[in-house]
Amino acid sequence: MRHTFRFSGTGGQGLITAGIILAEAALLDGNLAVQSQSYGPEARGGSSKAEVIISDEPIHFSRVTCPGTLLVMSQEAADKFAHDCTEESLVITDSLFVSEVNANGAKRIDLDITRTATRVCGKPLFANIVALGAVAGLTNCVSEKSLERAVLERVPKGTEDANRKALAAGFSLASEAQGKA
């Protein structure tokens, strides 16, 4: 078993946090995980990516090449981080920000990630957690229980309910998309 993920977007969207939470959920499932990231020298803004590898065998090389799943949360990230996708990759895009992705024939699923966060939680801030639910729902890379636990352990006190709702909304987006497909 081996899953590879690249979460890409703009600094401040919480994608590195999302990557950490996904890796923590994988450990809770008893698997191994490595999370890495890259960002520019800017304090905020600029494109940002987090990568996660989940496996039941030791993981050495920590970067992702040819991502199994690419999450794209900005057009700039779409232009920058889809180049090494293959036909086997799954590209999940946020419909609010991304129009075109040239991902070498990868399957694309366009989801209302940020709009859903605003609708369900009142703030676009929760888009990263909605995205996590969608990614987990579409890939089955971690169990729902472990993911919820990892989210709740990582988020600020007092935001648990909103995060729980965001995660559930993400899983719903995934099942709706699978229903359509």
Binding site: I20, A33, S38, P41, F61, S62
Partner: protein
């Protein structure tokens, strides 16, 4: 067996935890990418264990305060990246000559000057050895994983205390910033502590730099009633400056001997799949992570490739590399710079087998596929395939 906990942890954070576990109780420094999480973590953790954190006005003072704290009897450390490491060189020389135990973490960034702060590189290899002026001997270690950041920081502290020498933990952005699984003790109460030897003689008989067989003098805590003189000038047993040629030679011989006479205890390498290997990769730190996968891919193609991973960078693993050169028909050194460690590899191999260099300096680590191509190219060049 003590209770343990499993966590996802960043390499820089594992350095913090390793330092706390090893008994480090002072940190002085100035935050700098990609090492900032170490300062941040120490600022949070030290007060919890009765230690002190000091953010200094600059990088030089960072190591200055560490030297002061160590003279006062505390295990002390700092962390930095290239630009700060350059500034610390003068203080590293003082710590070498005055024999003040301390740990300096250098999480490397790209390039000279401010370079590329957030990208991986291993361009400080030679600076860790020759950064400060004059003949001097330091110990440099380099971790390849998050769990190793935890254990090797403890070892760095132990080496600094045992040999009264600055120990440099040479890291890169790959290992410093990545997060992976780590299992650590819930409590550090039972972690073995290595402490500098302190004088057992009465204060009036204490000669600060008189050393026995080990070459390492006993070190009295400042303010404990033992009076001694600390100087960067060449000195004799008393610690006071001495300008004779004999004094210089005696001092330098002892500083070299206390490290080189213990090289077997200091030098560590990992041998991976080398038993039947015809061809070897040498790689360390974050760059070695690519090599494990490349070895596996090469083996799947029937190529007998193994990996020698130096954990101790300096003193150089001369015997281990020489022995490797006798057992394989070719060596490929991989480093994230234009070729620094390879200079010493070639000197140690001395023509016993061909040595090729896979240098990578484009802000990215090599992928296993890229390394496999380099292995095949080198093996073809050596007539092995």
């Amino acid at each position: 067996m003590a209770d343990t906990k499993v966590m996802l942890m960043q390499g820089n954070t594992a350095v913090v935890e390793g330092a706390i576990a090893a008994g480090v109780r002072f940190y002085g420094g100035y935050p700098i990418t990609p090492s900032t999480e170490i300062a941040e973590g120490m600022a949070k953790r030290l007060p919890m264990v009765g230690g002190k954190f000091m953010q200094t006005e600059d990088e030089i003072a960072g190591l200055g305060t560490v030297i002061g704290a160590s003279l006062g009897g505390l295990k002390a450390m700092t962390a930095t990246s290239g630009p700060g490491f350059s500034l610390k060189q003068e203080m590293i020389g003082l710590a070498c000559n005055a024999e003040v135990p301390c740990v300096i973490v250098d999480v490397q960034r790209v390039g000279p000057s401010t370079g590329q702060p957030t990208s991986p590189s291993q361009g400080d290899v030679m600076q860790t050895k020759w950064g400060t002026h004059g003949d001097h001997w330091v110990i440099v270690v380099s971790p390849s994983s998050v769990p190793e950041c935890f254990t090797l920081t403890q070892r760095a502290v132990a080496l600094a205390e045992t040999y009264r020498v600055p120990v440099i933990m040479l890291m890169d952005e790959i290992v410093g910033h990545m997060r992976e699984r780590i299992e650590i003790p819930v409590s550090y109460d039972d972690v073995p502590q290595v402490n500098r030897a302190r004088p057992t003689c009465p204060p009036e008989e204490y000669l600060a730099y008189r050393a026995g067989e080990s070459g390492v003098p006993e070190m009295a805590d400042f303010g404990s009633g033992y009076r001694w003189h600390v100087s960067g000038l060449v000195h004799d047993d008393t610690g006071f400056p001495k300008s004779s040629g004999k004094a210089t030679m005696e001092a330098e011989n002892r500083l070299r001997g206390k490290i080189m006479n213990h090289r077997d205890e200091i030098i560590q390498v990992e041998r991976h799949m080398l038993d039947d290997a015809e061809f070897a990769i040498i790689a360390f730190g974050g760059a070695a992570r690519t090599a494990y996968d490349a070895v596996e891919m090469a083996r799947a193609r029937g190529l007998k490739v193994g990996l020698l991973r130096p954990i101790t960078i300096w003193p150089f693993a001369t015997h281990e590399v020489r022995e490797l050169a006798r057992s394989v028909k070719g060596i490929l050194v991989h480093e994230l710079n234009c070729g620094q460690y390879v200079i010493s590899v070639k000197a140690a191999v001395g023509g016993a087998c061909p040595v090729d260099l896979y240098a990578k300096y484009d802000n990215e680590s090599a992928t296993p596929e890229e390394m496999l191509a380099e292995i095949e190219k080198a093996m073809k060049g050596d007539g092995l395939i």
